[in-house]
Subunit: 348 residues, 3 copies
């Protein structure tokens, strides 16, 4: 019997199946430093213990998107090792902040299964919940992936598609009770714009571009213990469709979020990932740009000091975002690589 | 109104203007590990908590040049986003050591302005002071940059050039009072040469070479939260003068300082950056070499155990430094990329 | 007199000579994060403080192979700066675990010398011992390298070859007394296979491949403060035999060990490096695969809960390991780059 695990195939998943993922992960200041080196984030709350303390936290929490990667990474060996494509995200709710020293584990539940008409692949929906060492939820989200069948003769399961909200409702957004912005320093934070300054429909070109190197996305993806082989094996890629190592989609999420500092510097916290898709693949050598569009202004229950913006964060490749490329006839522009629907917290 | 900040242009600066820079930064063991991976420093005081304790410090301080990068990085969005060139450094005085856990902020004062005769650009002098969370100065230095005008019709300001010393005077050099070298271990430090072994005029070829990769300088520059786009955006660079991403000049300073260990292993502390200029640009693929020339031997007031050397640290590209290339007819040799005037502390 | 040290040549070594190596090194969480980013290790004991505590340790120890690199790195400036080739390892015994915050120093003793018949080079055997700040041994191993003579006219020393065991005997394997596996979680560890599930002669293809980038091996090698110039200087390499920067052999050891997780996830600790050789050089762009062969099952004295496997860990380049390439007519297959003989601990 082979000792090596080849990953789950479509027919290995069952509705209601619970998968406790391997390799718990203590997140450290070392991970934070690498995250800074990989993407250049400048949000003051994550960069400075002093600034975080002025906001009522014990110290600087790790970037929300880094927490996302750590929770996500654990799911890959069980969920998406045989994935053809990572199709989408929905209903992602961030819980308690993650601090250096916290240990994160992830458990997933299969909530949807739908075999494709070709009989060769199927879509698997998993709800993944990341918790810290105290059992507190740090992230709860659903993603769906297209997974290969191993044995095409296996019968298709009954099609089940989970009921997913188009956006996380305001009353399910988690804001730490101790978080305060009365001492928030708008000079140290980098911009003066508050929640009230943004308007629905407003688009913000984040201006800067970042060119990705092979070493960078590999370092990042290994840091998250994401093992999907398409990101690492050029020898195999030479025989594949793209002839290139594919960049982990989450790498683009982090680049776009960090680029968005310029124009959204006070959107200091990601409260929710309402939805998202990787519109086109990216490869080393691509230069990533980003823009945001304000979709909705949200009042946060019980908080007169904070508001939330629902924002579409779009990343493009090799195409500065000044003309805000998006979809044409329902199809993504070739330059669009990420379409992410986020809810962000800002001081009012 | 655009939410994005395009950076200051020449006409936006005023003599006496004080700029408190954004994004305070807690420096951690993670940053130190990255610094080690990026440059390979081997100075024992920064590498070992035990060695640092033997010298009277609480633990290993971070490399002085890493502290410089952190203080410098904060100034970029406000001072040099629209810079054409980073022209020079002067009067750089290191203060208290920076330890992991310290949070650094930077404030700059405009001390000089001089429009160029072409009317399109001008030189801006800023004195930048980095402080830790206790308000103690960690670095105080002046740099000057050539900055674009946005509106060429704006009148030229009165030309003001600050009075800068050619070197930081001995009585302004800061040596921590608790620092002691009576237990200094010349085996663990890597060399036996003390202050007395160096002579004015002596040149030391540091022998080794380091080839720079795109991923490396990008990781470094983002780690310092230095946002200058010329370092990151290959798509834009394709339309530019060099067709390449330009390497942050500070990356070369760190490489040269780390190469200088071989021959200056006991020059454990940078006391001052007396002056410096980036003589030629560097690009990924260049191999950096370095040599030092002893310019001056300095007695440190009140310290019979320590002495200082004023040293010219020169970095070259694609040209081993054995023949000590420098200037010809007042012009830098094409191979010279860095001309740095440092004051270094050594045991006597 | 030159201040720069050019490294020792063959005629500089004497039997019995003791070399205390420079630059003590405090290992931190930052180093661990970089190690994760460089290789993607997933062994739970090193990844999670909580998991390590469940095994009776104070917190997550650093990966054994990272400890090896740190101990090894210190020896390079004195032992192998003028090495032609790193010929082999033997009798490597890991001692107490290394935790973040520990400071490691290395001392080597010359135990063998043998001039080659060409009179130009010789083989130097050194026994290197790495200790932590409490003087406890963390690693004790022998390696031998081929070193250039500087002055070929110097007489050959009497040939001495140390007596080295083919494998570390079971009674010399160090297992921390407090280490326990009664609460070992075989879900979080990633696999269910225990010591009893492995058979002598069994071969395990570790399936995944990792392509190496120049920036990655340079970052790694500098992190270990390994200064061998062949890894860093492309300008010099252009005049050399390979025209490429050579990858530090230890980089391949780490890649192979991390790939071996898939099939050996519960082999949580390296107890010994019985032997090893770098069969062929590797360069950036090579894709590394690995397989293991179980050579021996070892009972650990006084431990009914743990067993050890002696395993041959083979790494290949640009050749998936499914057909287990090794030697033909006593000569390594061209695809084989590492042949490592390890003793690993597993729960029974």
């Amino acid at each position: 019997m082979s000792k090596t695990f080849a990953g789950n195939f479509f027919e290995d998943f069952r509705i209601g199946q619970v998968i406790k993922h391997a390799t718990p992960r203590t997140i450290t200041e070392g991970d934070v430093a690498l995250y800074t080196a990989l993407y250049g984030p400048r949000f003051a709350i994550n960069s400075s213990d002093e600034f975080a303390r002025s906001m009522g936290l014990a110290r600087a929490p790790v970037d929300d998107v880094l927490a996302f990667h750590m929770v996500f990474g654990k799911t890959v060996p069980d969920v998406s090792l045989n994935a053809v494509a990572n199709l989408g995200y929905a209903n992602g709710k961030f819980g308690v902040p993650v601090f250096p020293g916290d240990t994160v584990t992830t458990t997933s539940t299969v909530t949807g299964l739908k075999q494709n008409s070709n009989g060769k692949t199927g879509v698997v929906y998993v709800n993944s919940v990341g918790k810290n060492q105290h059992g507190q939820v740090v992230l709860d989200y659903t993603r769906w992936v297209m997974v290969n069948k191993k044995d095409e003769s296996k019968p298709a399961p009954e099609a089940v598609t989970p009921n997913l909200p188009s956006a996380v409702p305001a009353d399910q957004l988690h804001v730490p009770a101790t978080l305060k912005v009365e001492n928030y320093d708008f000079v140290l934070s980098g911009e003066k714009h508050t929640w009230g300054d943004y308007e629905v429909g407003e688009k913000i070109d984040h201006v800067d571009g970042m060119t990705i190197e092979e070493a960078e996305h590999q370092l990042a993806t290994r840091l998250y213990q994401n093992t999907a082989k398409v990101h690492f094996d050029q020898f195999a890629a030479n025989q594949g469709r793209f002839k290139r190592r594919l960049i982990y989609g989450g790498h683009i999420i982090s680049l776009a979020r960090c680029l968005s500092f310029n124009g959204l510097a006070n959107a200091f916290k990601v409260l929710a990932i309402n939805g998202g898709s990787h519109a086109n693949p990216t490869f080393a050598g691509d230069t990533i740009y980003a823009y945001s569009e304000v979709l909705e202004k949200i009042e946060l229950p019980g908080r007169s000091d904070l508001g939330a913006l629902r924002v579409r964060l779009v990343a493009t490749k090799n195409h500065p975002a000044a003309d805000f490329p998006y979809k044409k006839d329902g199809k993504y522009d070739d330059s669009v690589v990420l379409d992410l629907d986020l809810t962000l917290a800002l001081p009012r």
